[in-house]
Symmetry: C5
Subunit: 361 residues, 5 copies
């Protein structure tokens, strides 16, 4: 699923609906078609060799022989269900796992099929200040191979490929489980990029809300809160996934790799911390907004009340002497007019004094 | 229980009241009568055979012989307590389970009666944009049979019947526990249909609230929140049920089926995630509503205050010169009138400048 | 404690205060005196016999001989501490349990004294739409007897007595633990009656709040919320009690009875669900109230602003030409008056257009 | 610490600051000096003997010989650090425990030093309607002795002394652990006294808020909420302490005493329940306050709007005919004045009808 | 990281971003350069010896021989990655730990690398009333050495150095684990200093909010709330760290030291308590602010309404008799003017009576 994540609940629900009534394990592609043709690329390496080539259309990848080389098969594009099915048959993938691979919108999870681990992840990418694109990435980890399934031809895993090619670091010395770790680490690292952007937006928004709150800022605040709600739903299961992998429940993960997975786990927890902190800060911003609105309303009402309370009684007085009764003795008094001015000045002054005593001025 | 779920707490409580004081295990039908006659249908199948017929009225179903065929007895209509009681006797169902079967409004649960599993589920159906119908579905799972109890003659389980008949997929090869899984999966899949509808309604509602908030939208928002509260109460125990079945606590569930139940468990968790997300979004909408109301009120009050604050003092001035005192020298001045205009214009301009400096304009 | 439960925190605290400084195990009656005389009734039964008589005043009940009959001694009225103490001595009840029996306001709990189980429950009864009466019921369960202590001469346990007398169902075949279950079940069933009433009140209240919100409805809403807070505090420990009994921690509870206790446990959980749902609904109602008040305020203010904003400037204009300056050339113009009407009409029309463009009309 | 508990966070933090940078186990007295001289009182008793005397200044208490008598040494006044240190040396108290004894503001806790239990408690006392005094009480429990440390010469433990002296109840028969229980029970019982007072204040406050809400009531509500926040922080760790003691983790606590500690545990849970209930009720009161304020504002605005909306247009009409244009034909009409009255009456009536139709009247 | 902690989420996220795409274990310095040159100081001591000197630039520290002396190497300044790397090689520090040392913004954690414990802490310092500086402190604990890494040349650990030098207390007798405890204790003690300052600020703020609420106070309240959110995220993982160390999971920690760590754990829990209490109090203050604003608005509106409601109808009356109709009989009445005064006085009085009956006055 690569569309903006703004309305996922509906999208997810709708996606699922498509399949209601079908037998379990039926492969139905759910998501958007992102590439023309399914592309399959195979990289084989050990400490001394490195071999990388794209499979021709129609050519089927097969599980590698039981040697010491690590094989990484990356499949891009999931809409040709028959191709995925053929790969599934070749690698002995369980039908339910195959169903999940082509069915975007899964929760991150790790399933143990004895000789294979099946991992579902959501890779994130910032689209703009308020939207993120979600891509489902599935990893099938075997004893000496990893099969990765992606919908889009993104550059997500290019740095891993570079590192394997360059042969630097530990990656050529360790097995398929380390490769799976490297892919997982890359996905988690991208969460930080997305969160950095949101944090910047939130900071700018806070200044806007303090300086000049308007409905646009409010809408943006609401949009960010929604993104946080959705991100949170996506990261919590990821944490369970990494936690499970790192605890040593799965024999395919070696102890050396588990140390690295512990590091990924720390990152995941930091991602969650940052999301929770952002949520709390956004909630605080709504409080600022509402209480500053309340303050402004009070200020506006005070101005209105002061003006009205001073001038309405005065206008009443003047309107009295604007009446046309024949018998109004005050109108004939020599000092009537200046006396009225004095009366009005003292009423006005008294009102001002009253307001000052009430701290309205 | 098939009525709209809008006031379940009262319904449930009332339902229970009917029975207060009766000995436990007493069968009292609680719910609405949905079909004229209890209908019983028996399907027997294995990998090679398939037999499907309706039992005549008065004919009693009996537990199947201990062979390799799977028997599925579906009972529709629960108001004829004596019929259900007879089935209970034939299958050796515990009195408490029988009581629950005819008593709509149970929490989803799974009870282990050694040689039988008793599962209570709530099947949902969208009635309209704001209401859902709840039907209690009970499943009795034995070693080679499943007895399903429904209140209404709904098409809920038709797809399962079709699949068994067609003999496609795994369903004819696996046992009664797989059949129970298929029925459970069908019920859970319908939750997605209901949630999709609510998600769409919520989306439309959000646009309404931003564009033109009115009490009708508010009422709808409240209605949706209530549905979420009720759905949530229904799904959390369902999750426990599926979690228990999938963990392997019950010997009647084979390992092959447990893999499929793990899949249902994932779906249940996704249902819960979606409900929680919707709740959070709906809460956010109420915040939008309240803060946009607060913003509007501020805007309205600013307009009122600006108009009143400019014109009330001016009107006071004019009312002074509308007085009828005999001795008002200003009235005789040659330039009195134009000078007053100048004074009023500068007062008005000063006010406008003041408002602009306060960012009210 | 039988008074209305509207201010329990104070009541409970005060009750406790009475005893501060006394040695533990001191029996102080706390509660209201509900009957003149402590009444003791003894029922003995097995599958074939049934014997029921009231003990004369002063006659002491004794633990039954170790035979297969079940003895149920029900004690009504707790203010005569010496009578309760004598029973305690006869049955070997622990001093702390005796203290709790006569001291109303305990939390529901189950204490295991090796050969006896001591269970404290709160029985509820609806007094009116907003109040409930709470009665503390204590059960002492021995190998072949149950002693029940109640404050009031209520009909609470009459249905159990009827069932035992009629000898229907399982009750005459099973032991003292089943009798204890039956009493517990009766207490829990009454929670549903109370909740049904509250649910109905809440429903009526919701309609009132939507139709015509006023402070009375608000006060009722607040009262209901308080009842829910208090009910909740009472039911959560009850759930722990039933959960403990049903898990098989106590050897006095046989496996046959535990199946029934599992059923009571389900009911307790449903009571909690209903309370939580009601709380959520009541919170939602407060939100409705506040947001509809906010909506109304906006509407009121719009009307005021529209009227004021149209007429205040117009009145200013007319007041200008009400001035008595000698030199006001407009006053002498032939068409001055109709032109002013035109000016005022266009100002009024412009204002209306402005309000319409702002969607205030 | 005996000052009012109104600003504990600061107090606690400041107290701690005093010590930052000192080596652990350094004894620094933190708290207020409450008595002139440290007073030490020694009570020794068994079932048949009772001996009670105050130690002279400078006289050091020593651990009792290993006989069957129970020794209770109560130390009042903690500011003379050297005295406490000498006691610590005599009884072999761990330096960290000694540091805690003289350092008021600890969390309630129980530490196990193999042959000694070290218990820290906070005793509460009501100062006035809104403040409580907190006193730190430390207990050192050995095999046949208890050393109690208090800051103030309060009458807190007098009832225990009386009971031991009178020799009634179980206290002379059971060991030092029972004495520790009795002291703990006394402390917990005082929580009820404090809570009773707060409950009464809350009840009076609620009536005030409903009858005539003003800022003073609001300030009181806020003060009570703060007390609840602080009480809660104090009671939750106390619950852990009692729970630990009662679970049988500590060999110094005999099974007979554990039954009594279970009773204290029940009381502690009830204290927590009461605090939580009070917090919920206080939150509800704030809701009442805000929503009744909102209701009043609406009422006030309606009155203003009705008056203004009726009279502003009418005044506009009259001001028209107050203009001094030479050519205003209406002014010369015979029935102009009565017709205007009719027009104004119908406008006023129409407005009233409109307000009635909107349910503002 | 030493900048003010006001926008950590963004800072942290950005820091992480720097590294996305690099192989794990790559050392990238993240943070601000605080000292010119990395400084390394080595202290060696046992009960009888003490040796302290700074290593010359370029000189490498090496792990001490396996003797009974304790070696403490403190490294100040982390921007010269190659120096840290060299130390890492000499001490056999795992690459992931090295990465964390130079990468400020880690969560507090403890990692067990068999023969070494790696502890990450955040040391706090108050910058001003609303900001705190955070410095990451890493500790590497071996069997007889501790390596501490700090970014700044702060005086944080000077008191520990003094104590070791003076040889007082237990510190010279116990091993490297006790030294690690002393450093940890110093870090936790500084939390109290920071919290004390915030508590004082909160107290002053509360008085301001009650006396004269204005937007500045509101902004300060919001700033404090944000600091609490951030502090909380920092302290919770610290608690896990100390809890883990104190539970005895790590063989490097001796039982003697664990008693002291239990004390640090108590302090950490008190820090958390204080933070939570402050958060609750700050939330309460926002409630005060909002409800007092609501109260003031009501008061302001009442004044406006009373004035307007009294004078608007009166002004209407006077404006009637200001009209210039030729035929207005009242104008010619002898007592017209005084009668009008009577009428107006009774209307005004009636209004005042009405307001008093509504308790607006």
């Amino acid at each position: 699923m690569t569309g903006p994540a703004s309305h996922p609940p509906r999208k997810r629900a709708r996606a699922r609906t498509k399949q209601a009534g079908l037998p379990p394990g039926t492969m139905v592609h759910v998501g958007e078609r992102q590439v023309e043709q399914v592309r399959i690329r195979r990289i084989r390496y050990d400490e001394h060799h490195y071999d990388d080539h794209n499979l021709a259309a129609g050519q089927q990848p097969a599980p590698p022989p039981d040697d010491r080389q690590v094989t990484w098969i990356s499949v891009t594009g999931l809409h040709q269900v028959e191709v995925i099915e053929a790969i599934g048959k070749a690698f002995g993938i369980h039908p339910l796992a195959l169903e999940d691979i082509v069915h975007a919108g899964q929760r991150p999870k790790v399933d143990d099929y004895e000789r294979q681990l099946f991992i579902v992840l959501n890779a994130l990418e910032s689209v703009d200040d308020q939207h993120i694109a979600v891509e489902q990435v599935s990893l099938l980890v075997g004893p000496n191979y990893v099969v990765s399934f992606q919908e889009r031809d993104s550059a997500l895993f290019d740095p891993v490929r570079e590192r394997v090619k360059a042969g630097k670091g530990r990656c050529r010395k360790l097995g398929a489980d380390y490769l799976a770790y490297a892919l997982l680490d890359t996905v988690v690292d991208h969460y930080f990029v997305v969160l950095e952007r949101f944090s910047e937006v939130a900071e700018r928004l806070e200044e806007t809300l303090i300086r000049r709150p308007d409905p646009a800022a409010l809408g943006m605040l609401h949009g960010l809160k929604r993104q946080m709600i959705l991100l949170r739903k996506s990261v919590w299961p990821l944490r369970e996934v990494v936690s499970g992998l790192q605890r040593g429940e799965f024999p395919l993960i070696t102890d050396a790799t588990r140390l690295y997975l512990r590091d990924v786990y720390d990152h995941t927890v930091r991602v969650i911390d940052t999301i929770e902190t952002l949520r709390d800060l956004l909630s605080g911003m709504l409080d600022i907004y509402l209480s500053s609105q309340s303050y402004r309303l009070n200020e506006v009402m005070k101005v209105l009340t002061i003006i009205a309370t001073i001038f309405i009684p005065l206008t009443f007085l003047t309107s009295i002497y604007g009446m046309n009764f024949e018998h109004m003795p005050e109108l004939k008094w020599r000092w009537g007019y200046p006396v009225l001015w004095l009366v009005m000045a003292s009423i006005g002054g008294g009102m001002l004094y009253y307001f000052r005593s009430k701290r309205w001025l």
